[in-house]
Assembly symmetry: C2
């Protein structure tokens, strides 16, 4: 399946409302529970998404358009959510996610990217040469990887409670392959 | 973590709105794409959730309260979503999910279950003796297993489009352990 910019934008524009509907005012067992030491709760994940909105996706897209392969992106700080979440409630983080995402999509649309722009190349500090198209597709898939993680982390809280049904619940067989 | 009935109800009451926010009017690439032969699209998953609302959770809860271990539940038909989805749009399925779930939660609340009721036992046709508590916890975890599946199936559509970033996206490393 090729990358489709309209389909990417459609998905990116829905994630904040989906997380809001799922998580806002949900009991803290679900939102603050994690999978053990050095793992993230849904609350942490929303902080991480906000950190990505500020430092990852659109800043990198603009770097590709401005500098091409000449300058590597700033490495993304996977611990950056710790500053993002400090002193904030989940409700605040969800509000910020909606507003950061909406502003970023406004900027993205304003770029009026043509198919040939999507083929423009930049330099990832670890992965090497990457296209703008792959960066934008990854932005959408990154939302999905964290929705996948949130559903897994939440299900983990009921690992014992479901009793013998655990064998039928795929999410409880999922290895922790998307901790970040 | 023990089962908490209020926490189960909190989660169950949010899933329809979360799926609605994520999926309604999303391009068909996302909602009808699956993971290959004999796998489910997000559209199919919503049909399966509706089938569960009609035939699985509350009917089984009521059987436990009425018959205890004396009568085994009807086996759940994992192909039952095929009839559920026939001739329907995703929008219709999402509307039905919201209304079936809301009616089932109204019935569940009306049972006024006490802690000792949650310990009552029934008989699963394959798993043997199970408690009402585990059944209700599984209802919530089952929502999460399918949210986990939907995010994985959607991410699969961009497996190629993300280029070298695929190595960082946990959801793309997830084996298909929740096909149903």
């Amino acid at each position: 399946m090729e990358h489709s910019l309209p389909n990417t934008i459609s998905l990116l524009s829905r994630t904040p409302a989906a997380l809001n509907a799922l998580l806002r005012d949900l009991p803290e067992m679900w939102t603050l529970g994690d999978e053990g030491e050095n793992t993230w709760s849904p609350f942490d994940v929303v902080g991480h998404l906000n950190h990505g909105e500020r430092t990852d996706w659109m800043p990198r897209a603009k770097m590709i358009l401005e500098f091409g392969e000449a300058r590597a992106f700033e490495p993304f700080d996977r611990g950056g959510h710790q500053r993002e979440v400090q002193g904030k409630s989940l409700g605040q983080l969800l509000d910020e996610f909606a507003s950061l995402r909406s502003e970023n999509l406004r900027e993205l649309r304003a770029l009026n990217l043509r198919p040939e722009d999507l083929e423009r190349r930049g330099r990832h500090p670890a992965l090497g040469v990457v296209t703008l198209s792959a960066l934008l597709a990854t932005w959408a898939a990154h939302d999905l990887t964290h929705l996948h993680q949130i559903s897994r982390v939440m299900a983990h809280q009921y690992r014992e409670a479901v009793g013998p049904w655990s064998v039928y619940l795929g999410v409880l067989q999922c290895a922790s392959h998307s901790s970040s």
